[in-house]
Each structure stands twice: as C-alpha cells, then as structure tokens.
C-alpha cells in the first residue's frame, strides 16, 4: 500500500521495492486472516466486520477526495443505495426468485453503485470544485427525501430487512455465524483494496491526479477533465456499492439513514483524519471510525464533541492526516534524525494531555448541564467530583485547559523551528547525494552552467 510513497522517500533499489510490496500486501492479508483469532469475542468480530466495510467505503471516498480533488458530501448515496439493492437481492434469494449465491451479494451492491453513479454522477461531475461539492450535497438530500417518499422500495421509517443465512449452504457455509461473514467481508476488503491501489497505477488513475492538480492544463494535453472525473466517479461508485453490499450482509437491514448526509459526513471526516494524501490513509480512518462509534461512545456519551475538536486540530495542524504524520516521521527516521524529536514529542504530548484534561472536563460539564441535568448537578470525572452549579469547577477546568493550551502552543512553536531545521538538513542531504551537482554552492544554477558546457 505505502510502497509507492515509502519507496520514493528512502529510494531503495528496484528489487527490494518489489519485496517490500510483497511483504506489505502479504502482511495485510495475514493481518486480516488472524485478526478474529486475536479478537475472539462476538463483539470483537462484529467490530472487525465493520472495519472491513468502512475500509472499502473510505478508500472509495478517497478516490474522489485525495486522488481527484473532488469534495463529495454525498458519498453515502452510493454506499447506501448499494445496501438497499443488496438487501432486496437477499430477500429475493430467500424467496428463491434470484439464483445467485449469498457470497456475491457485495457485487450486487457494487453493480447498484455503478448504476447510480452512471446516472447521478453524470450531473455531478459536469462541474468541479465548489459547484461539484454543492451538487453532491443536493443529490444527497434528494436521495434521502426519495428514501422517505418511496416506502415500497426503501421500507419507510423501519427500513427493509433480510436474512443472510436463507440461501443454500455452500460447503457448509451458511453465513449464519458472524465469523463466516467476517472472512467473506475480509476477502472483499482485501480484493477491493488491491483493485483500488491498482487503479492509482493506471493511465486513468494518474490523469485523475493531474485533474486534481491542474484541470485547465489537462484540457490542453488531450483529455476531457469531465470525462476523467466521470469515469473515476463511476469506479468509486462501484467500490462504494460493494461496501454497501458488504454492510447489507453484515447488518441484514437497510434504513433511510444509510443514504443520509450524516453518513456522508463521516466518510469525509474519517478519510481526512486518516489522511487523504496517501493511499493507505483512509484505512486508518476506517479503523478509527468503527472504534469511535463502538468504543469511545462507551467511554463518554459526548464523544462526538471530542471528535469535532480533534478534527479541528487536525485541519489546522496536520492537514495531511495521520498517514502524513506517520510518513513524515518515517522520513526523519530514514535519515536517522528521529532521536532528536523524541524529547519534543514527550513534552508536546504532556502539554496536550493537560489541555485535553481541561477541555474534557468542560465538555463533560456542558454535556451534563444540557442533556442530563435531571440527575443532580455533580458528576464524577477521573476521580474528581465536578459540580456544574459551582463556579470553582468551571473556572478550575477552564484554567487547566488554558494553561495546557498556552504551554502546548509555546512548545509547538519551538518544536516547529527544530522540525524545520531537520527538514532542511534532509533536503540538503538529498541534494548532495545527486551525482551531477558537483559545486558546493548554488546547486541548480551550477548544474545548469555545467550542462551548458556540454556539446
């Protein structure tokens, strides 16, 4: 997955790049295979199945966002309609009116995704930039409204449901037990990830990057930007639909909210958090999305407030997402300079924790005040008792947060200087490694002069 980027950073010889790629994909396959042996509980396997679904959804979303520069607010239209069509197909299988094996249900979702992307995507991809974003938003609202207006297909408020184990068993596989579903979904996730990575290495995939960078110039090298966007949108629709079909198998139900803007917003948010500039970024985002909903929501009811806060910080300080943080540090590590940063990371982390403690106390108190004030005014917070009726609690929490914030910002500024110095050292190292830059100063100009002398 990350061989492309990692390869260009540390520039290994071609053979080890091939080995590296084999190791990464092999490792990914092994990871998917053994994950349910590590997380054996029903809950664990349910989460893993959801991660598989989210990986395909976020990667397909990133074909638009990261690779094509298309900010979509309506990707759930394609995952969600995939889910609906897939659930209908499951019902048909149970009624013996559709002679296909249950294991192909995600492909049915994929075809539905393609079908709707061909129709709706044509309008959407006529424009780029802000108009594109607006159109996706409009289509998202349109489809959601339709979902509530046509109960025959969408099942109204209650949605439609199906039974995945109603098909004929194949070699004893009924898809009743969740472990069987997990392995099927893992297979789909693995193949889809591979196919989407392969797409980035094709002429269309590369031209999609070109359209992202400079749509105007693309028109002057023979390509219709609209056609590049449209074809890519359909392919993203295929994988979105596959993800929707996987969700149909896993949940056995489709309700109107799966096509809604809330779901679309989550794809955007977690793809961004994971990192839209690297192929593997959305995989990280997908894992976070499932963990967020399943685990963090257990820890605190107000977890979405934290999510918003984290999102804000990422947009401001690390717009490349977690993936770019990882890759930047790997680059520093590859040049053997990472040891100079550990101390800084420790201090940054400590100040961030202080800030987070204060902010979290405030968030919990606000949440208590607004949403569950009927059960008294006090709440337990990390062993302390906070009282939303007392000014001391508010001021104390605020003071902790402000101290943390000021300290964090002060450290961050000094850190930025050190980071910048290390980056320019690396740049210099890389320039000196180039064979044809002989002169110690004025690198490029010197090279130009040297070449001028050649016959």
């Amino acid at each position: 997955m990350s061989t492309q980027t990692a390869g260009s950073l540390v520039a290994p010889p071609a053979r080890s790049a091939l080995t590296g790629r084999f190791l990464i994909w092999g490792g990914f396959a092994v990871l998917l295979a053994i994950a349910p042996l590590v997380f054996r509980s029903d809950f664990g396997i349910t989460l893993l199945a959801q991660v598989m679904i989210a990986i395909v959804a976020c990667l397909s979303y990133n074909m638009l966002l990261g690779q094509g520069g298309m900010l979509s607010f309506g990707h759930a239209v394609y995952t969600g309609l995939g889910t609906f069509v897939a659930v209908h197909a499951m019902v048909a299988i149970a009624n013996n009116t559709m002679p296909i094996p249950t294991s192909l249900i995600p492909l049915v979702g994929g075809l539905a995704g393609v079908f709707f992307a061909v129709i709706l995507g044509y309008v959407t991809t006529k424009k780029a930039g802000t108009p594109f974003a607006m159109i996706t938003l409009g289509i998202g609202e349109l489809v959601l409204a339709m979902a509530l207006m046509i109960p025959e297909f969408f099942g109204g408020e209650g949605g439609i449901s199906a039974n995945r184990s109603a098909g004929k068993p194949f070699m004893g596989i009924t898809f009743g037990p969740s472990i069987q579903v997990y392995y099927l979904l893992a297979l789909y996730a693995f193949i889809s990830t591979g196919a989407m990575f392969a797409f980035t290495r094709t002429p269309l995939g590369r031209m999609l990057n070109a359209v992202r960078d400079n749509p105007e110039r693309v028109e002057f090298i023979g390509y219709s930007t609209q056609h590049v966007r449209y074809l890519s949108f359909i392919i993203a629709g295929l994988f979105a639909g596959i993800s929707g079909g996987m969700a149909a198998l896993n949940f056995e139900i489709a309700t109107a909210e799966v096509v809604g803007s809330g779901r679309s917003g989550l794809y955007l948010l977690f793809t961004f958090l994971g990192g839209a500039t690297f192929f593997f970024g959305p995989i990280i985002g997908a894992v976070l999305m499932v963990l967020g909903f399943a685990l963090f929501s257990e820890v605190t009811q107000a977890w979405q407030l934290y999510l918003g806060l984290i999102f804000l910080f990422m947009v401001m300080y690390a717009p490349g997402g977690i993936a770019s943080l990882i890759m930047m540090n790997l680059r520093v590590a590859a040049h053997k300079k990472l040891h100079r940063l550990w101390g800084w990371y420790a201090i940054l982390f400590a100040t961030a924790i202080v800030m987070l403690l204060g902010a979290a106390a405030l968030i919990e108190m606000v949440y208590k005040l607004q949403l569950s004030s009927s059960s008294g005014t006090t709440l337990r917070y990390l062993g302390f008792t906070l009282d939303v009726a007392s000014a001391a609690s508010w001021l104390g929490a605020l003071a902790v947060m402000v101290i943390g914030l000021v300290a964090f910002e002060a450290v961050r500024r000094r850190f930025a200087v050190v980071w910048g110095a290390i980056q320019s050292e690396i740049e210099r190292d890389m320039t000196f490694k180039e064979p044809d830059v002989a002169a110690p100063t004025g690198g490029v100009a010197a090279a130009a002069e040297a070449e001028e002398g050649k016959p």
Binding site: S8, A11, A198, P203, M207, E216, E219, H227
Partner: protein, 265 residues
C-alpha cells in the same frame, strides 16, 4: 502578407478573426497564414491581444467571428482537448504544470493521450514501455534527468519553465504555441532556453509570443506584428525591421529602448 505554399494547406490560418469581451473588441479582424515548419514570432505592444490570439487558436475561448484552421480543418468551434488531439499544443505564460506530480509523471501525463492510452484503467502505467521510454527521452531532452522524482512544485523557476515546454511537446503535436517562453528568466538562462526550444521543436510549426527582440530575431523565420488586434505585418525579420508602419507603431521605440539599455550596460 505572404501566400502559403501551394501544395499543402497552411499549418495555421486565421481568417478575419474577431473577439470581443463585452463591448471591447480585442482582436479586430486578424489575418495570418503560417506554412508547415515555419517558426513565427508574434510581437506587439502590451495589450495588443497576443495572449488572446493564442487563447483563440488553442480553443480556450471561441472567436466572436471569423475562421481558424489547423492544417485546413476548421477548429474555431472546438474545445481545447479536441484541438490538441488534432495536433496543436501550447504552453502558458505562467507555468501551468501538475504541481503534486513528479517531473517524470508530468511528462508522462503529457503523452498518454497521443500514444493511445486515453482513459485506460485496465493497464498499468509501469507496463507501458513505449510511453515510459518516450517520457525518459523527453526528460533528457529538457535536461531534467537529475530531477526525475522531484515534485513539480519543488522545481526552480527556470526548471518549471523547461518542464512547461516538455509537457507541451510531449504529445508530439506538429504545431506548437509558446506563450512568452522566456518570461522572467535571466539573460544567460534565456540564451540556454532558446537553444532548448530550437532543439525540441525541430521540424514543427512554431508560434511564439515573445518580448525579447534578441530572442525574436534569433529564433524566428518570420515575425507577425500584432497591434490593436490586427496583424499589421507578417514577414521575414529583416523586412519587418525595415517596415515603416511597424517602425511607427511599435518596433522603433522598442529597438531604441533595447539598444539604449544594452549601450548602458
């Protein structure tokens, strides 16, 4: 005005081309006929409509009236990518490349369509030997081998200009339009760059907007003088230099300025 060679259609032909933006007419009945293989410099005072003329020929805008022909085929109603597929490529005054792609990827993007790969998503780029070989050859041609993997946005200005030319010629178009290729370059860079342009456009029809008179007289077989949206002269450099109307309208003052500047150095 000269007549195009009798045997073949002109590479580029403008017939009474007009373009208005609102009430302002920028191009006022421009006429031009460039024979295949000719190298033409387009000169003229600021605001004469040189860039607009390029935008009309390359399809960025459609003309208000008149006809534009490429090898005898009308192109004034076509969009840029259709014109490009017919064999016309252009560069831009402000570098207009793919900033987050490497130098090599930029060049490869420039030639994918012309080599027939179009919108293929069932082939790997790495397997396209002909496209990769040609991109490597282009890389050497524009002398950026040592920057192969550098992102375009991290290149120096002169390197970006070279890449701009590389992307323009990548598709093998027979007619090349260069919009102020040496703008913003130092004198030594310009000299080197003109040599590069001469090399990479061998056998092609070349139209270049240029301000530097040294470059113009050095590079061009013919000069077209554009003043207030009209081609007032189109002839060999010597004839244009001697043309009284050109002297009066434009060239006299420019040449005098440049000579004064050079004398002052």
């Amino acid at each position: 005005m000269t007549t195009a060679s009798a045997s073949t259609a002109p590479a580029i032909e403008l017939v009474d081309v007009r373009k208005s933006f609102g009430k302002t007419e920028i191009i006022r009945g421009a006429q031009l006929s460039v024979a295949p293989g000719e190298r033409v410099a387009i000169i003229g005072p600021n605001g004469a409509g040189k860039s607009t003329l390029f935008n009309l020929i390359s399809g960025r805008f459609g003309p208000t009236s008149g006809e534009i022909r490429l090898h005898g085929k009308r192109i004034d109603n076509l969009v840029p990518y259709e014109i490009n597929r017919l064999g016309l490529a252009r560069s831009f005054q402000i570098s207009n490349i793919f900033s987050r792609l490497s130098v090599f990827e930029n060049l490869r993007c420039g030639l994918l369509w012309s080599m027939g790969y179009r919108y293929a998503f069932w082939k790997f780029l790495a397997d396209l030997k002909d496209a990769n070989d040609r991109a490597e050859a282009l890389l050497r041609m524009i002398r950026l081998e040592h920057k192969r993997e550098t992102l375009a946005m991290n290149l120096t200005y002169a390197e970006q200009r070279a890449l701009e030319i590389g992307v323009t010629i990548a598709g093998g178009a027979s007619v090349i339009l260069l919009d102020e290729p040496t703008a913003g370059m130092s004198k030594s860079e310009t000299a080197r760059f003109i040599e590069l342009i001469r090399e990479v456009t061998v056998g092609k029809t070349l139209l270049a907007v240029e301000h530097d008179m040294g470059v113009v007289f050095g590079l061009a077989d013919k000069i077209a003088v554009l003043v207030y949206g009209e081609v007032i002269a189109f002839d060999t450099p010597e004839a244009v230099r001697a043309n009284a109307r050109v002297q009066e309208a434009y060239l006299g003052s420019v040449l005098a300025d440049q000579q004064a500047a050079e004398a002052g150095v």
